[in-house]
Symmetry: C2
Subunit: 127 residues, 2 copies
């Protein structure tokens, strides 16, 4: 069998500038590469976390209506060392965050933040 | 700003055994951890690629109807060294695969394979 390595996860976004702004300001993601196809009316923008674990591919179809997120796809999860600090920072930044939830070794261990298209991002405590 | 690391991507699946069988046989993924919550009628099964780049979390809600995949979420992409060999292997295994597509340095550079719930997995050539 061939050997496979997870490379990226792709979501479609309605407003590329708003999404880039969100992923940069909320999580410090940076742009790794971009393919602009104005003749086909779409751009692909690849982002990543500081360690470049995998890429998040944003597909931007020009002038598209809001996407139907369905109920199949769940979320991308990001791990952080200090979950309480992260939660406070996101709340202070005015992002749409849930309360801290779950329980692991007596501590709450996750919350969710919503991106401009409504995709959920789970923030979990780094192990 | 806190430092974030991409940790996992979650999808909901209708038949956990069928999904596990697919991700193991098609890509050599292995189970990393599992949380079974029979009282809440759901199980979470985490899989990963051999390098454990990130995890793929499968949420299995017991006796759920097929999920509506919407048109927002795109796909998870996996990189492989020999794309043509991978395509032939997947075709020989009887999986639902598209033709090789795209073009990069004179070579086709991706195809898609569909999982049991209809989620697309993109196979790309490793850079």
């Amino acid at each position: 069998m061939s050997k496979y390595k997870i490379a990226h996860s792709m979501i479609r976004v309605k407003d590329i500038d708003q999404s880039l702004d969100f992923y940069k300001k909320a999580f410090g993601f940076h742009e790794t590469r971009r393919k602009e196809k104005p003749d086909q009316k779409f751009d692909l923008v690849f982002l990543s976390d500081p360690d470049e674990t995998i890429e998040l591919e944003l597909t931007y179809n020009y002038d598209h209506e809001p996407y139907d997120l369905g109920n199949g796809y769940g979320h991308l999860a990001l791990a952080v060392d200090d979950l309480e600090k992260s939660w406070s920072e996101h709340k202070d930044q005015g992002f749409n965050v849930t309360e801290l939830s779950g329980l692991d070794n007596g501590k709450k261990n996750y919350y969710f933040i919503t991106d401009p298209d409504g995709y959920k991002i789970e923030i979990v405590r780094n192990k």
